[in-house]
Amino acid sequence: MTTKKPIKADKEVHPSGDERYLAIDRTMKQFNYEKDSLLEVLNAAQEAFGYLSRDLLIYISTQLKVPMSQVYGVATFYHLFTFEPQGEHNCIICKGTACHVKGADRIIEALSEEFEINAGETTPDGLFSLTIARCLGSCGLAPVIVLNGQVYGKETPEAVRRRAAEVVSFSKEEQTQTMEVG
């Protein structure tokens, strides 16, 4: 974001063939490969890939010359980093104090029941993830959920359940359709 010239993706190719590594390289370059920038680099990696795979952590470790143990230690310390790919659809339930007293737990229950997963898990078909947030800071609208990036306030368990089931069933239909065509 602070680089002045936009880098044209088609001109620059990462040796791995995966463009997403360029974003990480950019961040590392911006910080002159300083060891202190580990957290920033991990943030960039999480943003580019959506989760931190083992390979990614090894890559960061060798590039920044920080021991793998330290990279792993830092990455696992912070809540924002995930180590498993997220589902196609993601529903974040706010569990801040205001949302809690207004029944966020029942929304979580309703969704775990609907998709048969626990909070923090993804369905086996990779379509839906249920994530818990500590506080989204929209306490005036509690309880708050974020479904696929769209924020909904003053929610009820039934409404969230219906909404989530709708987006997921839409993807399921698409999947079966492409399978039939294929």
């Binding site: 974001m1 602070t2 060891k35 202190d36 920038s37 580990l38 957290l39 920033e40 991990l42 943030n43 330290q70 230690g73 830092v74 310390f77 912070y78 809540h79 924002l80 980093f81 569990k95 801040g96 104090t97 205001a98 809690h100 007293v101 207004k102 029944g103 737990d105 029942r106 947030a133 500590r134 506080c135 989204l136 800071g137 929209s138 306490c139 005036g140 609208l141 509690a142 708050v144 924020v151 909904y152 306030g153």
Partner: protein, 579 residues
Amino acid sequence: MIFNTLEEIGQKELARQDKYKRRIFCCTSTACLSAGAGQVHTSLDQSVAACKCDEYEAEVVRTGCMGLCSSGPLVRIEEKDQDPILYGNVTTELAPQIVSRHVPMGEVEDEPDRDDQDLSITPHDMLHYRASLRKAGKKAELDKILIPLDIPFFTKQVKVVLNETGLVNPDKIEDYLAHGGYKALAYVLENMTPEEVCDEILGSGLRGRGGAGFPTGMKWNFVRQESTNGKFVVVNGDEGDPGAYMDRTVMEDDPHRVLEGMIICAYAVGSSAGYLYIRGEYPIAIDRIRKAIRDARRRKILGKSVMGTDFGFNADVRIGAGAFVCGEETALIHSVEGKRGMPRMRPPYPSKSGLWDAPTVINNVETMANVPSIINNGAQWYASIGTKKSKGTKVFALAGHLRNTGLIEVPMGITLREIVYDIGGGIQGGRGFKAAQTGGPSGGCIPEEYLDSPVDYESLTKLGSIMGSGGLVIIDDTTKMPDFANYFMDFCVDESCGKCIPCRVGTVQIGKLLDKLIAGDGSPEDLEKLERLCEIVRTTSLCGLGQSAPNPVLSTLKYFRNEYDDLIQQPGTAEGSMD
């Protein structure tokens, strides 16, 4: 001095704004955005365009939080020589009606213009809205969403930190300059020595707004007196408390105010580099602060020579990755250094040995945001607000079972009763008040009999709670206290960094005891054990997180002991209690 040019820019912006007969402010803060303010803003914009009136009839402005988040999206209309008008719960259907009520129509041809057909709102729609509004007369739907500005929610507040939020466009440095921005910095650079700045802040009685309440001027003086070069200023924007969003709002809606406070601090302590540590969950705040830094650099407010003086300062953003413990200053330092955010023993305090072992000032976002106002209005003025030991105002995120929830700024010393019943409008749905929870997971619950105690650092501590960073959650009589305490304990178990044993193991055991009690399997001995354990964790933990983690349990044990006793006598009453 470069400030003259900056002042000119502000004057120019003011003159530009003055040309408009009316300005329509649409709150696009996170809470309003989640209620649909983005679409409302577009709709307002298109409606004004569809009016085909003179360009200077109306301007639609994106602003920050106006406070009353429970009635979002909020739209305020300021017309010359008239009182401002506030609309709440605005929808995309109501937005064109608002515009048609306040903005006159220009000339519209009978045949719809070809360009207009692509618009979702056409001039003919606007004509139609005007006609139906006229017909409805006093029964207009719009009157139902009018929010009177003389209700206690607004009149009981005193705005210092939130003075410009909701009035300025946070993305425009010109708008901040037009509202007297960076005047304090210019004054400081020209007329005051660093020592005088520290004394001024000390004289104002400003105390750290992050929760502990350490006198800010004293902290600055400690760092100023260090003779080493390479000191740092760190602004703590890692607002991890659930139920609190004051710092986010200030960073999102008035980023330059934070920056100005930070630069003044840097001048006062003799630092040339600083970091704003912002929570990763606040992408909008990160973007806006980054933009503010870029704009400030371009205007020579940041850089090698701040406003053309010998003093140089550079600021950068560091993004936190979600760890509550990073609100603790030594943990935050480790996190800025790219390490695990674990606290360490103090002393040495960061003012002696902080970031990369250099003397470091760490202040909360709200503390920094107070600084420009103190310089502009003088320490005496600031000290005149508040109580004997707690000066100034405090921003609270008011939430829970209340009629009006949102962001408020009140003078220190206001009673909780005034906040709950006047500003908050009382409990939702006619239920009874049960407790006010301040300070998040580190704070406690205050029952009804103490509602008349003043809100200041000492009084809240005496009641077994803390001021904290400003989360204020009001709960009604449907909430079971052991369950509520357990919620916070769950949080602390998750967030304990694991460095010291009392916190790492103690919180888990407290949680287990609470689970046992709530399940109805507890005995009187368990209750005793719980109390003893809380005391051990409180007194022996390394940092503030562990020391304050038992607060929710201890305060509910103190004021709502009967509910714990009931759990032992009548097993199972608290199950599924959240309603």
